[in-house]
């Protein structure tokens, strides 16, 4: 877990203080966020990387599943990045055009990161909110389940899942999502507990609004801040997890690839003179990670009014 718990805690304390006063908190936050240079740089980097990932195919002179047989096998001598032959980022040992293949790999990595996070957010928020709002016995049991699941070595379960159902993107999403909602649920539950006794919620309860409506209307919106921050910081975690799975050879199916798979291939062959096959995907990987960290940190600072 790479997420900084201390700042999260402080953020949740200040966010729990009052009901979100509609627009103003978010408006203030945006102002503060825009002042944060690192965060803005993160947004710009992320926009550029995303643009490359989704539009790179239109610029690339080759498709990602194309093998250049003329260069394959001589990549060290003739595969270096070049404008003249259209291989802007060079060709790797498999004869793949690094520009096209990295764009495609970045796309997969971003998708894995974001879909995994969305799963974590949805499951974790609902679970945590229900548990925290219900309280008492239900809360105890639900949290005990989370504790039990947290002590299962999840990397093992992901490997088992991929081995059992065969590799596929959906299985990867499911596996990674499975791994990540637990901490989300814990944070959300804590937040819900402190929200629960606020006057506006008690008022709603007193007027007979059903529990699910209170959760959806009053609890969840007030959780948004902390969930948003946590989610942003979760994305790089997901991408890292996926890269490790790819390294084990259990990642997405060829001819598709991911940044993790490309880096793993590149690292294995770096001693043969095709260093660009490592550096290109590694560059996009590092930039993506930095971007998410910066945005996450910026978002957290921006949403925390006390942090002045």
């Amino acid at each position: 877990m790479t997420i900084d718990t201390i700042k999260m805690r402080r953020l949740s304390e200040s966010l729990a203080e009052g009901e979100v006063r509609g627009r103003s908190l978010w408006a203030d936050a945006r102002k503060r966020f825009m002042k944060n240079k690192a965060a803005v740089a993160g947004v710009i980097m992320l926009v550029l990387v995303t643009a490359y990932a989704f539009l790179g195919d239109y610029v690339a002179a080759y498709t990602y599943d194309f093998k250049d047989f003329a260069i394959m096998g001589h990549a060290a001598e003739t595969g270096a990045p070049s404008w003249s032959n259209g291989h802007y980022f060079g060709v790797d040992n498999d004869g793949r055009d690094m520009f096209a293949v990295t764009a495609q790999g970045t796309r997969i990595s971003l998708m894995v990161g974001i879909v995994g996070t969305v799963i974590a957010v949805i499951v974790g928020t609902i679970y945590g909110a229900v548990s925290g709002y219900a309280g008492g016995r239900t809360d105890g049991i639900m949290m005990r389940i989370v504790d039990i699941l947290l002590s299962i070595p999840f990397m093992f379960v992901i490997i088992l899942l991929l081995v059992m159902f065969g590799r596929s993107i959906s299985m990867l999403f499911a596996g990674i999502g499975l791994l990540s909602w637990l901490n989300m649920a814990r944070i959300v539950r804590g937040q819900t507990l402190s929200l629960k006794n606020k006057e506006y919620i008690e008022a709603a309860r007193a007027t007979g609004v059903p529990a699910w409506k209170i959760i959806l209307r009053h609890v969840v919106p007030n959780l948004l801040g902390i969930v948003a921050v946590y989610a942003t910081l979760l994305v790089p975690d997901m991408i890292l997890t996926e890269s490790f799975i790819s390294f084990l050879g259990l990642g997405v199916q060829a001819p598709m690839t991911s940044l993790g798979a490309l880096i793993s291939d590149g690292a294995k062959t770096m001693q043969y003179g095709t260093i660009w096959a490592l550096l290109v995907p590694l560059f996009f990987f590092v930039v993506t990670m930095f971007a998410f960290y910066f945005i996450g940190d910026g978002l957290r600072d921006a949403l925390d009014p006390k942090d002045r």
């Binding site: 201390i6 070595p153 093992f156 379960v157 088992l160 059992m164 880096i263 930095f290 960290y293």
Partner: protein, 307 residues
């Protein structure tokens, strides 16, 4: 406190059982078995194998026998693939190796990480801080499967300083590279957590009071800042310790250490059912145990927390 510990241990047993059941079912649901081979064996040969290893029994019975043998004799069965070894032997050989390089990595990561984080916090917004933050994010995002081959290339092939792999009962030269490869990412996380935790404590009231009382700065830092700042670090260290001592696939792969990190992946791919279960149970039990240790430590550091 004591009652709490007893309660936690009581929960640990059903947790382990659930873990065993999940893994057992998933494992047996996977296509192919330990004796699936490119050259298909005649039916009779397969039947003999299945009988010898009890795979001809119904699944629930296999599972019951398995659990019973563990409870009764602490016997995790024979390996299905390493035919002249038992699971206990496989673990007894591999686990000490990972325990050694994992613990050293843990100590290194903790010391370097806390030092780096503390320095960054004390020199907030100076170049020292930026450098430290840069290093820690960089170290965190660089996958160990990139670091490991680079280390071998540099220290073994180019400089010729260190052997490229092997273990030799933990001789120092063989331990250095595995430790670097394993500790880097953890060191980075610890540094980042320490930094922000220190920053929070440094701006808090009781530090201001301490300073106002005219205590020397080093005393303020050592006595009043570090200890409270360690809370989130400790909660990170517990699970990190377990992951580190149960080894790393990357380290075992690149440095031929013979540790247990690779055993699980190998066992899963080879369908070595018993080794896979053994490693899963080991890791599960360690995780549960160290989560408990962390909670107790937590209570010790922060007496306000009561269970």
């Amino acid at each position: 406190m004591f009652a709490y510990i007893v309660k936690r241990i009581a929960v640990a047993i059903p947790t382990l059982l659930i873990l065993i059941i999940i893994s057992f079912l998933l494992m047996h649901a996977a296509p192919g078995g330990p004796f699936t081979s490119e050259k298909k064996y005649p039916a009779q040969v397969l039947a003999n194998l299945n009988e010898k290893y009890g795979l001809d029994q119904p699944l629930w019975k296999q599972m019951a026998t398995y659990v019973w043998n563990i409870v009764r004799h602490f016997d995790f069965g024979p390996s299905f693939v390493y035919k002249d070894r038992t699971v206990n032997e496989v673990i007894a050989q591999g686990f000490p190796v990972t325990l050694v390089y994992g613990s050293i990595s843990f100590v290194v990561a903790t010391i370097v990480g806390i030092a780096l984080g503390a320095v960054a916090a004390l020199k907030q917004n100076t170049w020292v801080d930026y450098l430290a933050v840069g290093i820690s994010i960089g170290a965190q995002v660089l996958p160990s499967f990139v670091i490991a081959p680079i280390l071998v290339l540099v220290f073994t092939l180019w400089l010729g300083w260190l052997p490229g792999g092997g273990w030799e009962h933990g001789e120092v030269r063989y331990v250095i590279m595995p430790v670097i490869a394993l500790s880097t990412a953890y060191m980075a996380s610890i540094a980042r957590i320490t930094r922000s935790s220190m920053l929070e404590v440094l701006t808090s009231n009781h530090i201001r009071t301490a300073r106002a009382k005219g205590l020397p700065e080093w005393k303020v830092i050592l006595r009043h800042t570090l200890k409270p700042a360690m809370l989130p670090v400790v909660s990170y260290l517990g699970p990190a310790f377990v992951t580190m001592i149960t080894g790393s696939v990357v380290v075992d792969m690149y440095f031929s250490t013979g540790g247990i990190g690779r055993s699980f992946v190998d066992a899963a791919l080879n369908r070595d059912y018993s080794v896979m279960m053994g490693v899963t149970i080991l890791v599960g039990a360690l995780t549960i145990f160290f989560n408990l240790v962390v909670d107790i430590l937590y209570a010790w550091i922060d007496p306000k927390i009561r269970y």
